[in-house]
């Protein structure tokens, strides 16, 4: 990560990583989606989707922000057509209140090192320009000390607030965010369908999902991918990036 990227993630709790996927890669994945009734986790939809788990452009961010033992926690897709909504702003540290139910939603910094609990890499297979809706957040709210005081009208997207932002993304961009940042899904307003693949990651010792990946469903896997699909643990857990390859 560049110095500016570290500053932005620490300040705002999210980051748009530009041009992770090429136009050809985006087209290939959209064609697979168009031709099938895609169900279940996207990581099981075929090789192009499996490769997203440890995409070489996003893995360095995962290591920097979740540590060297990062694991894939769960993944799913969000497809939205015009007018559809998905509820209001949620998330935040501990799930938005002290001692809340989402103990794995956290952000911390010490001595130059950032670490997070559950995080998301959202692969965008369709553009979400400004005003289109989709992912929105309150930048900086991963450090909020008063999340319960956010006005309810703002939480439900019933009234605009300057501090609620819908970052514009293009097809092929990846949006990283920590679940400690207060976020949600604005109603979709674009003419085209929203297509987002959410790959959610945890540090190696932690899990949000109560079930773990069955690697036998994935066919051929590199050793690195196998390490990323391990259930949570601490003792003798291998680093995702093995110096020996």
């Amino acid at each position: 990560m560049t110095g500016e990227e570290k500053f932005i993630v620490d300040l705002e709790g999210y980051l748009v990583i530009k041009n992770v996927l090429t136009p050809d890669e985006v087209a290939e994945m959209n064609a697979i989606i168009d031709n099938g009734d895609m169900q279940g986790p996207p990581s099981l939809w075929g090789e192009p989707f499996k490769r997203l788990i440890d995409h070489p452009k996003i893995l360095p961010y995962l290591i920097e922000l979740l540590g060297p033992h990062v694991r894939l926690d769960h993944d799913y897709a969000i497809f939205m057509n015009g007018g559809e909504g998905r509820g209001g702003l949620h998330g935040g540290e501990d799930g938005g209140r002290p001692g809340g139910p989402e103990g794995d939603h956290w952000y911390k910094y010490r001595d130059g090192v950032m670490r997070n609990g559950l995080c998301v890499m959202t692969y965008n297979l369709a553009a979400a320009p400004e005003g289109a809706g989709g992912f929105a957040c309150i930048p900086g709210s991963h450090k909020s000390n008063f999340p319960t005081h956010i006005p309810s009208g703002v939480r439900g997207f019933e009234r605009p607030a300057h501090y609620v932002v819908q970052p514009p993304v293009e097809a092929g961009d990846v949006l990283f965010f920590t679940e400690a940042v207060i976020h949600g899904t604005m109603p979709w307003r674009a003419a085209h369908q929203r297509r987002s693949l959410l790959y959610k990651y945890s540090p190696g010792h932690s899990a949000w999902a109560g079930t773990y990946y069955d690697i036998s469903k994935y066919g051929e896997l590199t050793e690195q991918l196998k390490r990323m699909l391990l259930p949570p643990s601490i003792g003798r857990r291998p680093r995702v990036v093995d110096a020996n390859g």
């Binding site: 500053f7 300040l11 900086g140 909020s144 008063f146």
Partner: protein, 263 residues
């Protein structure tokens, strides 16, 4: 003394806006005095008013300011003790404010930009209340439209990394926000927040009074003992060093007045 919305807003942004807290008559008077004083040379300013921006160390095109304006007219003392502004200052300083500076700044379209800067990181939350050790109450005497004036990096009072050098006061949201205000509005911000000012764009000059407060100790420049007869006892006390846990009489009075208002 901060509402839940205000606590959330200040903690999140590092600043808060109080709307229309200054009487129009006082605004007009302060502008007239500003016009008079800013046209004076350093030697012509009525003591103890001075202008540290004209000391020679500052750029000649900087937006100049007149220091110690509270000694120049009662209107500025009323501003120092403005109940709405002090409500927030008292809350954020754990009820031990010390007034360290009152400066009347005048910007022209030819005045310099003020690039991002911050002073320390004395901000936190204690017992469910935000606390800031160094605060700036910026009272605008004129309308400041969007595109010019105060800018900041919301949330940067809690930063762990310094902003990159290429970050510009002219960049856009959400990282950089520009705060438009009306005459009589007050933006209170922690000096830990990275802030600056875009070049002034309007035909009329921009006038801002910056009243700065700290929560512990003093900056030693105030009070000016030789001219204490020019300020009220309450302003004089407010300029005394702050001691944690010791409330000044002026703070007691303001808190009592506020409680009486709400009975």
């Amino acid at each position: 003394m901060l509402t839940p919305d205000e606590k959330w807003f200040f903690d999140h942004h590092g600043f808060i806006i109080l709307h229309q807290v200054v009487p129009p008559d006082d605004i007009q008077l302060m502008i007239e005095l500003g016009n008079r004083w800013h046209d004076m040379t350093l030697e012509e300013l009525p003591p103890p008013l001075t202008s540290t921006s004209r000391s020679g160390a500052s750029s000649p095109t900087i937006a100049h300011w007149i220091n110690h304006v509270q000694y120049g007219d009662a209107a500025f003392q009323r501003l120092v003790l403005n109940p709405e502004i002090m409500r927030v200052i008292i809350a954020l300083t754990r009820e031990t404010p010390c007034l360290v500076d009152c400066a009347l700044t005048k910007n022209y379209t030819t005045s310099d930009d003020i690039n991002f800067h911050a002073s320390g990181q004395d901000y936190g939350v204690e017992k469910g209340e935000p606390y800031a050790g160094f605060l700036n109450a910026a009272i605008s005497l004129v309308d400041v439209p969007p595109g010019t004036g105060f800018v900041c990096l919301p949330g940067s009072h809690k930063r762990n990394f310094e902003p990159p050098e290429m970050l510009s006061i002219y960049d856009g949201t959400p990282t950089v926000i520009n705060v438009a205000v009306k005459a009589g509005d007050c933006v209170i911000f922690t000096e830990a927040l990275y802030h600056g000012a875009r070049r002034w764009t309007e035909a009329y000059p921009r006038y801002t009074v910056f009243n700065r407060y700290i929560a512990n100790g003093s900056h030693s420049a105030l009070p000016i003992e030789s001219h204490k007869h020019l300020i009220s006892d309450e302003v004089y006390e407010l300029e005394q060093p702050a001691v944690r846990g010791q409330r000044k009489h002026v703070v007691d009075r303001m808190l009592k007045d506020r409680a009486t208002c709400h009975e």
